[in-house]
Every structure is written in C-alpha cells, then in structure tokens.
Amino acid sequence: MSNNNLIKGSLQTIILKLLEENEKMYGYEITQRVKELTAGEIKITEGALYPALHKLEAEGLLSTEIQQVDNRVRKYYSLTKDGQKEVTSKMSELQGFVENLQRILTPDLKPGFNI
C-alpha cells in the first residue's frame, strides 16, 4: 500500500505514541512494531524515521541511551517529561484531524461520530 505521504504528517505522533506504550525503543524495533500493528499495511521508511527521531530529540521530547549490544552500539529512545505531555496533545490533534477527514469523505456521518 503506497501511503507514504499520508504517514509523513503523522510520523512524529506515531513515534511518540509507541514510546508512550514501550519504555524505550530503537529504530529497527519501531519499524517492526508499526509493521506488526498494521499487519504490514504501513511501512515506515528508515530515511524518514531516523531524522524524525533526531528532530524529536533536539526538541527535547526524546532522550537517548546508548547500549553495547554484541559488537556494536544500539541507540534507544525514550520519552522525556515534555515528550509525555506532548503525546496527549499530538494524539488529540491527530484524532481531530481524522474525524474531520472522515466527515469530508462521508458527509452523511453524524457530527458526534468518533473514530
């Protein structure tokens, strides 16, 4: 399914939400978790994922921890306090957008409809 443009705008929210549910995650783990949750329908491109993670880190929403795994290092990301606050606001922002989109796509839908 080619939905890269649709995912692009909500990538940060997806990352924040996943990290809210999991204490810490690394890049590969995030891509696999999204694939697993959407039965392979959504695939996050690594070229978009890593810059998004670095941006969230620079904004102070994520903190990082480096761990030695076998013969290499692995960078784990987790939510900061600011990040935890941001998840709620980003989630309601996205949910509001999806609801409005739904209204446009199906005008017959009742105004109080929730996804």
Partner: protein, 220 residues
C-alpha cells in the same frame, strides 16, 4: 535470531564505508539497523535482504540523515548554550564566577598599560581556541581521504572557528587601518576586553555542553 558471520559484517562495513557517512552517530545507527535486520532473516535470504537494505539506505537518504542530524544537534547545542550563558541560572557559583571574571578584567585594564593589554587579550583567546581544538582534535583532519567524526566535536570546532575568525577581523581591521595606533585607544581596549570575556565564555560553554552531549550519547 542468528549470529552474523564475519563475512556478513565485512559486507555491511564495505557498503557503509562506500557511502562516506560524515558522522559516527549516523554510521552506528545504520550499522545496528543492518545487523538487526540481517539477524532476523535466514542466511539464505541474507544477500537479498542486504540488497534491499542498500536500496533503503541509498546515498541520498544517508546524506539527508547526516544533514538532518547536523541541523538538529546544532539547534540543540545552541539552545543549551544560551541556557548556559545565563549565569544567574547557575546559582551562587555562576554569579561568583561572573563577578570574578569581570573584576579580573577591570584590574587588568588598570594594572597593565593599555597598549599591551591587547596582547594579553589575544593570548587568552589563542589559548582558549588552542585548548578547544586540542580537546576536540578528533574532528580535525589534514588528510585528503574521508574521515568520520563525532557530531558534537564537529559542531564545536565549527563554532569556535567561526567565532575566532570574526574576532580576528574585529582586531585586525582597525589595527591595520590605523597602523597599530588604535592599540592605545582606551575605548578599543575596553571593547576588546568585552569581546575576550564573551569569546572565552562562549568557548567554555561550547566545551561543557558538547562534552555533556557526548557523554549523554555514549552512556553504556
């Protein structure tokens, strides 16, 4: 999950080296991604998956990652630097250090003849710069071949380099234009004194922040 063979590690390193990745942090993150992906597939599928990974981490993608990291770390360091320079946020210690700094500057201006003071300031700036460059020498390379560097070291060297180039112009231009006569001008010397304090504080703040950033990024 299986263990990768030495040959597979070699293939990954060869591929990543061919991409001329600028920052160690990007290299390590992509390397871990390659290894984890390959560990989760059978040896028979390894070559196909490796080819897919090479397409995923194409030249343009990796260059984009380098640039994005540079932009993000630069922003992060800048915000932290501004916070660091707010001496009133460091409590009594910060306040004392600032008072002592300015007191020393004022004493120097009264004790040392104005014309010689400029030299003192230049020496302070040069020592600070040399110290910063020595501590972050891993980001300096005189070789023509590619060298991967740490993002925090590269950020410091770049900023200290820019700062001192500006400083040298501030010092050199009036000196050349007045053939050195400006060195005995009290106002110019005061200005240079303030520039010196600012430049030293700026270099120290960069060192402290980037060292924290490095430690933070490499906590194992």
């Amino acid at each position: 999950m299986r263990k990768l063979s030495a040959q597979e590690f070699d293939r990954i390193h060869t591929r990543l080296k061919s991409l001329y990745i600028r920052y160690t942090e990007v290299y390590e993150e992509i390397f871990d991604h390659y290894c984890t992906t390959l560990e989760n597939v059978s040896e028979a599928e390894s070559i196909i998956v490796l080819t897919q990974l090479n397409e995923t981490f194409a030249w343009s993608v990796v260059k984009g990652m380098d640039q994005e990291l540079e932009k993000n770390v630069s922003k992060q360091v800048w915000v932290a630097q501004l916070e660091f320079l707010k001496f009133w946020n460091h409590g009594l210690k910060g306040l004392l250090a600032t008072i002592i700094g300015f007191a020393l500057l004022e004493i120097a201006i009264f004790i040392i003849p104005v014309s010689e003071l400029i030299l003192v300031f230049l020496v302070i700036i040069l020592i600070t710069t040399a110290g910063v460059f020595f501590m972050k020498r891993d980001a300096i390379s005189f070789r023509l071949s590619h060298k991967m560097v740490s993002i925090s070291s590269a950020t410091i060297i770049k900023r200290v380099g820019i700062l001192n180039t500006i400083f040298m112009w501030i010092y050199a231009m009036p000196s050349v234009l007045t053939r050195g006569e400006i060195h005995s001008n009290t106002l110019f010397v005061w200005g240079m004194g303030i520039v010196t304090v600012f430049s030293t504080l700026y270099s120290i703040s960069l060192l402290v922040i980037a060292s924290n950033l490095t430690n933070y990024r490499t906590t194992r």
